[in-house]
Chain length 213, copies 2
Amino acid sequence: MDVSAPSTRDRIIAAAEYLFAERGFAETSLRLITSRAEVNLASVNYHFGSKKDLIQAVFDRFMDRLTVELADELASLRQQGGKPTAESVLTTFLRPLQALDQLEPNGASIFMRLLGRAYAETQGHLRRFVLEKYGHVLAEFTQSLMQAHPELPANELFWRLHFMLGSLVFAIGGSNALGEISAADFDEEVGLNDVVARLIPFLAGGFKAPVAR
Amino acid sequence: MDVSAPSTRDRIIAAAEYLFAERGFAETSLRLITSRAEVNLASVNYHFGSKKDLIQAVFDRFMDRLTVELADELASLRQQGGKPTAESVLTTFLRPLQALDQLEPNGASIFMRLLGRAYAETQGHLRRFVLEKYGHVLAEFTQSLMQAHPELPANELFWRLHFMLGSLVFAIGGSNALGEISAADFDEEVGLNDVVARLIPFLAGGFKAPVAR
DNA sequence: TGTACATCAGTGAACGCGCGTTCACTGATGTAC
DNA sequence: TGTACATCAGTGAACGCGCGTTCACTGATGTAC
C-alpha cells in the first residue's frame, strides 16, 4: 500500500483550492500557495506551467468528481421512471455536492466559491471551458428538470436555473460566514446539510411558481 | 446653471465603478482607472486617500441612492395598510434597483456585481460597513417580509433572504452575459426589466414554500 | 484697491515591493546495450 | 552485471514588471488687513 506523503503536485493543489476559494484568484500569490504547501516556489510552474493552468487544474478536479456522481444520480432518477418532482431533481445535484464535504473539509463550500469566482471572471474562459467539457451532464440535468416542469418554456427554465445557481453559490459558498451569523443570532449551529435542507423547498417553490404574464 | 465638465473626483468614481464591477477590485489597477478617467494617477490618492477608500466611496454612493428609495417604497407599502404579499415586498427592493439603471447605463448590474464582490471579500470589512450604516433600512425590509409571511420563523427568513440575495446578485449582476446567451439561444432580447419580471414569481414562490420539517 | 499669505486641485517623477516566471543546476531513478 | 546516458522531480536565485503610494512642486483661487 502507499503510505508515502502526498506528492508535491497534490500538496500544491490542496493548498491552492483552499486559498483560491478563501481569497480569490488574483489575491492569492504563488508564494502564498507554495509556503502553505511547504514546497518550492518554482515547482508550481514545473508541475502546472503557469498560475492560470493551476487554477484550471484545481477547478477541473472538483468538476470531475461532481459530474461523475451527478450523472449517476440522474441515471438512477431516470431508472425510477415516472415524472420526477422538482425536489427529486434538485437532490440529484445537491447530494453529490454534499459528498464533496466528505471528501475534504468544507469541500462543497470551497467548490461553490470557486464556481462563483469562475462566473465572475471577465474573460469567462473558465465558463466556456466548463460548458465544453461538462456540458453534456448539465444538459441531462436540465432535461430532468424539464420533465418535472413541462409547463415551463425553455427560456424560463434557463433563467430559473441561473436564479437557482445564484442561491447555491451565495448560500453554500458563504455557508461558513452565514452559519456563524446564524449561530450568533439564533443560537443555532448550521451545517451544510441544514442549508441544503432549507434550500430544497425554497428552490422547488421557485420552480413551481407560475410564469409571469 | 453648471454646465462645466465633471470634476476630477467624479470622473474617477465613474471610471472606478465601471471597472470594479467589470474586473473586480484586485484586478483593477489605479493606472487603469485614471487612464480611463483621463486624470492624473496621483489624483486618486489626493481625493480618496487610498485605493481601499476609493472602493468604499464607490460602493457608498450606490448604497446611498438605493437605501433612500428603498425606505420610500417601504413607507408607502406600510401606508397602504393590510398584510403585504411577498411580491409587493420584493418590488420595494427591485424598483429602486431598476432606478439605478436610469441613473447610468447598467447601473443595477454594476451595483449587484459590486455587492457580490463585497460579500466575497475575505476580510468582510465592506460587509460590516454596510450593516452598520444601512442596517436600519434592511431591518425595515425584513420586517415587511415577516408581515407578508408570519408563518416563517426568523431563522428560516434569514436563510431565504440570503437565497434571494444570491439569485439577485447572480442574475442581475450577470444579466449582460446571461442576456447575451438568452438572445443567442432563444432569439429573445432580455433587459433588466425582463429579468426582474421573471425573478418576482420565482422568489415569491420560494418564500411561499413550506418550511422543511 | 492692493498686497501677503493660505488653501486648494492637480501634477510628474520616483519610491520600494511583491508578483509570476525563468534558468542553470542537482541528484535520484529508469533504460539500453 | 556494469556502464553510459536520458529522463524526471525538484531547487535557489535572479529577472523584469506593474503595482499603490509618496513627495516636492505648480498655479489658481480665497481670505485678511
